[in-house]
């Protein structure tokens, strides 16, 4: 009994050591510089409903943070080298100061002495959609093992799997999942692809799910990058022949290239598919406007591969990878007639020796957000990639300088109110993508971006997976993981019926005639 008491006492001491708390120091030395907090949450604009922005300071023996709202509320938190704020107190503070500012004073204990650092502020702005979905996977490369699509509630730290692949290696069941997408920020309609074993595209409608197969001799390959029409049950997919190769002595590590790509339109009500653009250009990354009457996409013209058999294309593309530039294009869509108009160039990036990808139109239809890099289409591996917008009313393009970094800033999406953008960036360590959130002002300017908050601020250091494809949604996914598991594992999926023009292949060269 005595031994048990001793063990309990030691455990209690250990627990209390881990939660060491301090009072706001009364004796301290002032520093003119701000505290070197991690993650960098200094002088940022945040949504009023965001989870606590816990942070840490390295090489200190104690720290205290005093958060003072403009309207007088105060929140004091302390820890050894990191703080873990109470979610309720934090939420109250932000709610009370919505539209205003919260001033953050940081005190650190270094040796025996307390230091007070120059304060920083948090501007509290409109709320963000409550849920963020993403895929967690090791950064890039060819193989995959454990991966999943998860949904994180931005108002707290709860993360739930939407779907995870098999946890243990199994030749008969190993599969990859990617490209999750929602219709109009709602989880009522969602999709993602399954590759390899149990392959197909999973369509989710409320709490039901079905598998479909998008394959036909008349289409290039399976559906890849999706965009769900905002009002109709139509999905525009790009269909890409994608490969990747590895640099041997370069600042970049991987180059992902398409050797061909087209655009498809899938009618989910009828389970029908057709080509909508299958030209000598490489068309990819479709995106509907919020009204659904126009489709944005990217296209590159690669004359070197026209008429070249598929077997030689990869080599040619790899050799010329730095010369491939994608423009931003758009074309009107007549919803009544189900027909597309003539494509037109929206941003002629190729002319400036640049390449744009992933257009995403703001919910108010005024801006197109895209990633611009020096070349190619898979900007998540290009350090030159930055976020840009095109102001469709003023017809001007500019970089979102305050939100961008020296490293990769790529895959991005809007919040449903158009005030926030979330995007993937490798700025933290150059290798692992992390979701960052930036305020997008009514003046069309983005503010400094901040990292998705985690309960343990060191989470992003310790996590050895990348966040892929961050997508915001207004509500939580309704379908259960079990339902998705059953559909993935136990259904073959009905093949979509091709209803477009037949595709022609050159009998002599094997190249596709378009």
């Amino acid at each position: 009994m005595k031994k048990i008491l001793y063990v309990a006492l030691v455990a209690l001491m250990l627990i209390s050591c881990g939660q060491k708390s301090y009072q706001v120091p009364t004796a301290f030395e002032e520093r003119q510089t701000q505290a070197n907090i991690y993650p960098d949450y200094k002088d940022i604009t945040i949504p009023e409903n965001i989870a606590p922005l816990n942070f840490m300071v390295e090489n200190v023996q104690g720290m205290v943070a005093v958060l003072k709202g403009q309207k007088g509320q105060e929140l004091v938190v302390s820890g050894i080298d990191r703080i873990d704020m109470d979610t309720t107190a934090w939420r109250t503070l932000l709610k009370e100061n919505a539209g205003g500012k919260v001033n953050v004073e940081v005190y650190t204990l270094e040796g025996e002495k307390w230091y007070k650092h120059a304060s920083h502020s948090l501007s509290v702005a409109e709320p963000i959609d409550a849920y963020l979905s993403y895929r967690l996977i090791e950064p890039g490369y060819e193989l995959y093992r454990q991966l999943g699509i998860y949904q994180r509630c931005l108002e707290n730290f709860a993360q739930k799997p939407i779907y995870e692949n098999n946890r243990s290696y199994d030749d008969g069941h190993n599969h990859c999942i990617n490209c999750h997408n929602f219709q109009n920020y709602s989880t009522d309609r969602m999709l993602f692809h399954v590759r390899s074993n149990h392959g197909g595209t999973i369509l989710i409608n409320g709490d039901k799910a079905t598998k479909i197969q998008i394959k036909d001799p008349n289409i290039l390959a399976a559906g890849v990058y999706p965009s769900w029409h905002p009002t109709k049950n139509l999905i525009c997919f790009s269909t890409n022949k994608t490969g990747q190769t590895f640099h041997m002595y370069h600042e970049e590590k991987i180059e992902v290239v398409d050797t061909d790509s087209d655009l498809l339109l899938y009618d989910a009500d009828r389970n029908e598919i057709k080509n909508i653009l299958s030209t000598d250009y490489f068309e990819t990354f479709p995106c509907w406007t919020p009204t659904g009457d126009r489709l944005y996409f990217c296209a590159a013209y690669v004359p070197e591969v026209i008429g070249v058999p598929d077997s030689l294309r990869a080599q040619l593309i790899t050799t010329n990878y730095e010369k491939i530039h994608y423009n931003l294009m758009s074309m009107p869509y007549d919803m009544e007639k189900d027909s597309f108009g003539t494509p037109e160039v929206v941003v002629d990036a190729a002319q400036n020796g640049k390449s744009v990808t992933f257009p995403r139109v703001s919910p108010d239809g005024k801006y197109v957000l895209y990633a611009e890099g020096d070349y190619g289409q898979f900007h998540i591996w290009h350090k030159s990639s930055d976020l840009w917008v095109k102001d469709l009313q003023a017809d001007t393009c500019y970089a979102l300088t305050a939100a961008n970094s020296d490293d990769v800033d790529s895959y991005h999406s809007w919040s449903s109110n158009g005030r926030w953008i979330v995007f993937s960036t490798r700025r933290m360590d150059g290798n692992y993508t992390r979701p960052f959130i930036a305020y997008f002002g009514k003046d069309g300017k983005a503010h400094k971006a901040f990292c998705l908050p985690q309960r343990d601020p060191e989470h992003n250091v310790l996590l050895m997976k990348s966040y892929n494809v961050p997508e915001l949604s207004k509500n939580a996914v309704k379908v259960s993981t079990k339902t998705l598991h059953d559909v993935v594992y136990n259904t073959e999926g009905e093949t979509a019926k091709y209803v477009g023009q037949p595709r022609v292949t050159d009998a002599q060269t094997g190249a596709t005639r378009k």
Binding site: E138, Y141, L143, R145, Y169, Q244, K253
Partner: protein
């Protein structure tokens, strides 16, 4: 008469079997199989934080493998890991005997599970640290120990019978019963050892070389390879080549070991790895051949496939430092700082973050710098594996070492036109032994060779007589390759005609094409 027999039995030598079991288990796990278990530890990963171990805990029996991996960390020092391993198995052996209420007559049965477990480990061979879950080795004994201890405690709680002694000889044992137990004990160790020595002779050798490469003990690696020169397995050749590259002997001593490459026992794998376990050495070969980015590629693939593992993370850290990617190097060091017994590594390389000039003065890293490519290209441009394919096509290097590596690869792959092209910078010198032999061999096809390398004339006579000796065997090279090896060990012309026939007949399948995809 009965008294006489009893007296005789009393006088007979009678030994405490459990202590012997403990000692032999300790010797087996700390010394005999020590390197294998050390490598199982290096290919594993454990930190206390459950969130970081989620990849393991989310699997079936994840909790048990978590504990197994935790105990496996002790094999950083095999003497320490071996102690716990031996103690767990010895204790569970005693518990089994006690819980089953085995009388002295049947006590030999209690040693069978230990024997079965050791036999299974020996049977698994390199899978112990290649494809199996690392937590198995210590997880199974741990689980068994817990279950049997509880069982034994339950028995003890209602049994009045005295439990048999552990350290001394149980009082109820006769010499004959004791001898039976000793015979069973002998079998417990003899069977797995025989299995290892006869059917898996490469397991301990490869592991020893793995450990040697980790410790930069190049002389040890070379000696191990030469001591086992008749064993022909790709991982042995690869580690031997790494040691030779690091001691500048790649063009002198590569052919001191046989290179016909028998198959390893591997559960699964892709393309080359299914029979030759390329993943056992690929990252190390990339790294020591100067292909830092390719090493990152393959190390990351290993992390993806088997989860974080100490060895790959060491390489990823060093590669990040070599590339000046300070933040990611810091990240890996932070993660490793939570892994038991990694303090030394973390402290050493953390200092490099604060003072990058240490990278240039680091002997290992300086060696890699000399071999790094000059220009960028893509891995898939070259035959795989890239550390061979790139060097076979190398046209420009940073150092003479790069040239020698390229020549060594050309000779190894028997790409003689490419070899001849690359010998031009050596004209007029006396090249290393293997290169000289290869040049002599080529002189029969190109008389200009001797004009460029007149110092080699004296070797022609030897070559001519050797080829004459080899001629009768040329009609069936595969058949005579092994037989001739001892006679021509180290001699390039022998390798040219008889060595590595399977690989040079058909180039290895590009493993990247097997299951590759863009994620």
């Amino acid at each position: 008469m009965k008294e006489k027999v009893a007296l005789k039995e009393k006088k007979s030598l009678i030994l405490p079997v459990l202590p012997i079991l403990f000692v032999v288990l300790y010797v087996w796990s700390a010394w005999y199989y020590g390197d294998v278990l050390r490598m199982a530890r290096e290919r594993s990963f454990w930190v206390a934080d459950a969130e970081q171990m989620e990849f393991l805990l989310s699997q079936e029996y994840g909790g048990l493998w978590y504990i197994g991996r935790m105990l496996m960390m002790l094999f950083r020092y095999p003497w320490l890991g071996g102690l716990v391993f031996a103690a767990m198995i010895t204790w569970s052996t005693w518990c089994l005997g006690y819980a089953m209420r085995l009388t002295a007559r049947w006590r030999w049965i209690q040693y069978l599970p230990a024997g079965a477990f050791l036999t299974w480990i020996a049977y698994e061979g390199v899978n112990v640290y290649f494809e199996n879950e690392a937590g198995l080795i210590m997880g199974i004994p741990f689980c068994t120990t817990v279950i049997l201890s509880i069982w034994a405690m339950m028995i003890a709680s209602f049994s009045r019978k005295k439990s048999p002694a552990i350290i001394t000889v149980p009082k109820d044992e006769t010499p004959w019963q004791n001898r039976i137990q000793l015979i069973v004990l002998l079998l417990v160790f003899a069977i797995p050892e025989m299995l290892t020595e006869v059917y898996r002779p490469y397991v301990r050798v490869i592991a020893k070389m793995n450990v040697g490469v980790i410790n930069n003990d190049w002389q040890g690696v070379i000696e191990t390879a030469r001591d086992n020169a008749e064993l022909s397995y790709r991982p042995i050749a690869a580690h031997y080549a790494i040691a030779l590259v690091n001691t500048n002997q790649i063009c002198e001593r590569l052919y001191d070991i046989r290179m016909d490459y028998d198959t390893l026992y591997i559960h699964r794998g892709d393309a080359l790895s299914s029979t030759h376990a390329i993943n056992l050495y690929q990252e190390d070969c990339d790294y020591h051949a100067g292909f830092v980015q390719t090493c990152i590629h393959h190390a990351m693939e290993r992390v993806t496939m088997i989860g974080p593992n100490i060895h790959s993370m060491h390489l990823l850290t060093k590669c990040a430092l070599l590339r000046g990617e300070w933040e990611v190097a810091k990240k890996y060091l932070r993660i490793l700082s939570d892994v038991p017994f990694e303090k030394e590594f973390v402290e050493k390389y953390s200092a490099y973050l604060d003072n990058p000039s240490l990278i240039e003065s680091d002997k290992e890293m300086a060696s890699i710098r000399q071999l790094e490519p000059i220009n960028d290209s893509f891995e898939n441009v070259y035959p795989q594996p890239a550390f061979l394919g790139y060097n076979a096509m190398l046209t420009e290097g940073r150092s003479q070492r790069a040239l020698f590596n390229s020549l060594a690869v050309c000779m190894y792959s028997k790409s003689m036109p490419a070899f001849m092209m690359r010998t031009q910078p050596l004209a007029g010198t006396l090249p290393p032994e293997n290169i000289s032999d290869a040049l002599c061999l080529m002189s029969s096809k190109d008389p200009n060779v001797m004009k460029q390398f007149p110092q080699l004339n004296f070797r022609l006579q030897t070559l001519s007589s050797s080829i004459n000796e080899m001629k009768p065997y040329m009609k069936d090279r595969a058949k005579y390759a092994k037989e001739l090896f001892p006679r021509y060990k180290g001699y390039y012309p022998y390798y040219y005609f008889f060595g590595n026939l399977k690989a040079t007949r058909k180039s290895p399948k590009d493993q990247n094409s097997s299951t590759a995809g863009v994620n």
